[in-house]
Subunit: 361 residues, 4 copies
Amino acid sequence: MSHNSFGNLLKFTTWGESHGEAIGCVVDGFPAGIPINTKYIQSRLELRKPGQSKFTTQRKEKDEVNILSGVFNGKSTGAPISMIIYNSDQRIKDYSEIKNKFRPGHADYTYFMKYKNYDYRGGGRSSARETAMRVAAGALAELLLKKISKNKIKVTSAVIQIGNEKIDNNTAWNNNFINKNPFFSPNKSIVKKWEDLILMHRKKGSSLGAVIEVRVSNCPVGIGEPIYQKLDSELSKAIMSINAVKGIEFGTGFNLVNYDGTTGSDQINYKNKKINFHTNHAGGILGGISSGQDIVFRYIVKPTSSVLSEKNTVTKNFKNTKIRTKGRHDPCVGIRAVPVGIAMTNFVIGDLLLIHKSKSL
Amino acid sequence: MSHNSFGNLLKFTTWGESHGEAIGCVVDGFPAGIPINTKYIQSRLELRKPGQSKFTTQRKEKDEVNILSGVFNGKSTGAPISMIIYNSDQRIKDYSEIKNKFRPGHADYTYFMKYKNYDYRGGGRSSARETAMRVAAGALAELLLKKISKNKIKVTSAVIQIGNEKIDNNTAWNNNFINKNPFFSPNKSIVKKWEDLILMHRKKGSSLGAVIEVRVSNCPVGIGEPIYQKLDSELSKAIMSINAVKGIEFGTGFNLVNYDGTTGSDQINYKNKKINFHTNHAGGILGGISSGQDIVFRYIVKPTSSVLSEKNTVTKNFKNTKIRTKGRHDPCVGIRAVPVGIAMTNFVIGDLLLIHKSKSL
Amino acid sequence: MSHNSFGNLLKFTTWGESHGEAIGCVVDGFPAGIPINTKYIQSRLELRKPGQSKFTTQRKEKDEVNILSGVFNGKSTGAPISMIIYNSDQRIKDYSEIKNKFRPGHADYTYFMKYKNYDYRGGGRSSARETAMRVAAGALAELLLKKISKNKIKVTSAVIQIGNEKIDNNTAWNNNFINKNPFFSPNKSIVKKWEDLILMHRKKGSSLGAVIEVRVSNCPVGIGEPIYQKLDSELSKAIMSINAVKGIEFGTGFNLVNYDGTTGSDQINYKNKKINFHTNHAGGILGGISSGQDIVFRYIVKPTSSVLSEKNTVTKNFKNTKIRTKGRHDPCVGIRAVPVGIAMTNFVIGDLLLIHKSKSL
Amino acid sequence: MSHNSFGNLLKFTTWGESHGEAIGCVVDGFPAGIPINTKYIQSRLELRKPGQSKFTTQRKEKDEVNILSGVFNGKSTGAPISMIIYNSDQRIKDYSEIKNKFRPGHADYTYFMKYKNYDYRGGGRSSARETAMRVAAGALAELLLKKISKNKIKVTSAVIQIGNEKIDNNTAWNNNFINKNPFFSPNKSIVKKWEDLILMHRKKGSSLGAVIEVRVSNCPVGIGEPIYQKLDSELSKAIMSINAVKGIEFGTGFNLVNYDGTTGSDQINYKNKKINFHTNHAGGILGGISSGQDIVFRYIVKPTSSVLSEKNTVTKNFKNTKIRTKGRHDPCVGIRAVPVGIAMTNFVIGDLLLIHKSKSL
């Protein structure tokens, strides 16, 4: 059992605070002989890095990853892989004003009550900065999956809703477009609307929520261990551990309540030497095990609570007060959650795939 | 790591198939000195038991629990508590017809592909019958919480939507009514509609989905271990492991996408020597740690795929065929999921509470 | 983390008290498709069963194992395997006299202080009766190893010392003889001495310690995960968890202090397409990983503290008193530890082999 | 499950190779509010540091520890504590000669076979250099125990045998002297003999084994979780994971075979409001739980296999060859194992104490 570790056979442990000297992670259980391309890991970090566009926070972090162990001559050795990112942009003064006030919607109050201390410098351990290391660990898992599946397994993710602006269900999902726009939108048609919406909220110092969809293609049948390491159960644990996520659903999800047992299940037939599913209400998972269909799920990232408008709150000495959160915050944190969700998904699949492999005699 | 175990410091392991000799569980890490009332555990099982009303399956199972170890003179001893339920109603013939066909929407196909065998007798290990043992384990956790919290912590749950019939948001939630109607409805006003809806679907051999809400009151502040044992993350893992659940959301959940950072976070003030939250968008959890507010979440249980209407499927030898699932199935399995969700919630809170306790010097 | 579970990918959980209704275990992570022969498991239990000869306790237990889940049509299904043994010989009266006294050398005092209760009926959970379930779980691991290694991997064990009567180092170790004498002696020459020694101690109501050696042949190279799942580390944890074991050593063990770096390490050469070790000081393990040599270790089982002679002790109310342990105890519990040590060794190797397998791409 | 992690509720994960850029560890589950004195941690590292006297290796490593997270304003925050030591003395050339040869008695061959690669630069991950991080993690555990037990619990350890020169059983054990001589001897009388012995072996390029004893005083009754987290079982796992350790025994250990059930168990009486044990054959542990007596155990550290005399070995291409290990090795690695054993013992007790605490309602 580890509070700050994730995974079973393949495991990572993260450490570090948003305004400490560095953040890092240790990936354990990673097989030997996997080519490790640091540039590739860095490229995944760039997708999450703040300050990339006017639609995300203007905080600057270089987010340069260093591998300190476990790789020799360009390949994993089977030893734990330690990665570190030194923090560069630690403007303490931005936070001094809120030093003694609990920011509503943040973890300040609960951390303070739990640990009898808190790191007022931007959230400390509870900051989303921690997710950078998930991206690094997830990139390693991706390299592992590439090798094992011969580049077949592919995790893709896109934002499908910002505020009340939702992508039309009938809109084409264009994988190539996703990384070519600042919103990770899978379709060009909504981009202008989102731009306007975010700029409007940014201007008034407010923020927006988002819904993100993840799709995994070519996941082999059989991944996931019933009853308590089901693929959807492990993915939910993974995604729900990401800051600001408040819900997750698979396949048709909550909307399945509007179907009946006839229309809401996926019929199958056999053709061209493979099983074909007529629909994908189940999101590619049956009984907690991957069915070979695309794995599909969505999650909601709430609007960040750090906004300019004044709110009621309480000081560390339990006096009523008001608070405005200045700082340089994301108008829509959901955008930068996309690479984090991809990373966690790659990690879960890599982990469960190794477990499945161990039992396949 | 255990595929069939759940929990960390407080842990249960389930075993058994729907049509085997028995099902059971072992609860480990249970503190000594807790009064164990077998009748109370049995009363929780009665809530989940099939055949209770015409709105659930007509299968008869006595579901009589026996405690085989870990209890001496009416109290837990600190040793593992083993519980067993012998299976009584094992009508094999009901299932013989579907012996060689994968039931669409069920785990037959994925189990067969993963394990190269499957127990055609009603789903074997993948059957919801396994959840009876969760109810027993959860009842033990409840007894533990009663003792630790002096009867304060209370987990309540109700069905809030069946098919497209949803309880009005403004409707009063009456805790006393929940166990007095066959639907676990928290309000009388919708009961007639649900009766009609279920009887209609039962008649045509179809089935309905449901949305269930869980509320935990008086959970102390500080429960949950960031970053990877967050309270919401552990609850999601728990609930998503229940058969047929396809999504979960906390507090305002997916609907938070329609709020902004000002309206979507919960402001606080201090009054009468305690922290008061103006709203509960967060569902009682901040940064993965309980905030002292009610913990609130909802989950969707899909309509069971076992219906009378004919569906396309494939045999174990990969021939295309048709299937009708006769048997004695629940027209709305979501109803019987209610006590299971309560059990898992009690268990998660009990486990995380022990962990939190171990660190409180 | 589980207090009453052992293993990692392959795991068993035991439950039950010596004088409760039954004892049992659940084996999880066991691969599907392994032939499960209940008679074979029973045959392993017979080796540990009390009342087999006049050199062990005269308590009668049928020790008849039942498999309740996880096996279908003679093969493992991949689901957890639950096994149970009902207790038959529960003569409570034998123990009534010592109900309120801590037996010196037993766990009565520490259990009472830890749990604030204790099961005076023969040790309850701390009784060696628990080890019957280890034998059953180990037998399953053995069946797994047989299948994976095509009957090559073989765990053998024998008693090499009882009291001060030790087998001569130059004495031949005859595998076939081990199960043909009541002491698990690997050589006939010492049998008479042990008979006399044990009968003498039995007569005066005293008891003897024993040293047991375990040898594993044909274990493949590469088993064991550094740094904290080393093969010798996991075996030590396993063996040291057996009742009454007070020490373990690998290869030349403690005697290595009498060697220097030249004579105490095993030189190697390559011949006939394989690595040959000139000696086996290391006990078949280098850096925590099996080297392909025989794995060899020894452990000491102390003389049971249940003897007829009067000892000083204390009551549950902390009054000084005297005690004599009557009951029907083993004059040399080390003998019946042999099949337990074999079981634990098989289980450790099975577990680490699955882990190694999961990483071998 | 983690290959490179140790502990349960309190856990550390180590990473890094002997000749990589750095080594490090992450300590998770460490309670908040514990004063963390970096100088104290450094002082523990100094005890293990190479190059301290002519009786240990002449390799120079500064072994300067940096804390990168989890500590704020001099106290632990409850977040993971990351510690790092940068490697300074990486003389690659010393190892170039043996680049392609397996060093007998080392892990070269088994690592190569397991991982299909190896780090020839001084053992890489298998090097005892890893143990520096155990000392750092153990020092944290010690600070925790100091706080919890109000400085009562105390782990002491000394070398009691080097080669065939053993401390007389009747010799007084002087805790103050242990850190005042280069051998961690508890008594002055043997120091001259050990000096001569080591210098002789050093001169001829050979090495010596050692036996080390550990004593824990004032450990409260009740620590250790039966059946599979027994205190002795966890300590054995911990100690046996240290490089070059080949055996461990508790209390009277292997010598118990020379006692009978009357003389070999510890009688008790009650006096001055506490339980008194007449002897300590059990080493302070009964049924896997601490009894309140001193916990006493011993372990053997084999002579290092890196010696000047020529040995037979094999190349990575499986050709027979000869090898001499030059380098700057310890003539008796057992000496520097002393602080490592202390660290592991502190960590095990800290971990099991937190577990016990979580169950004490």
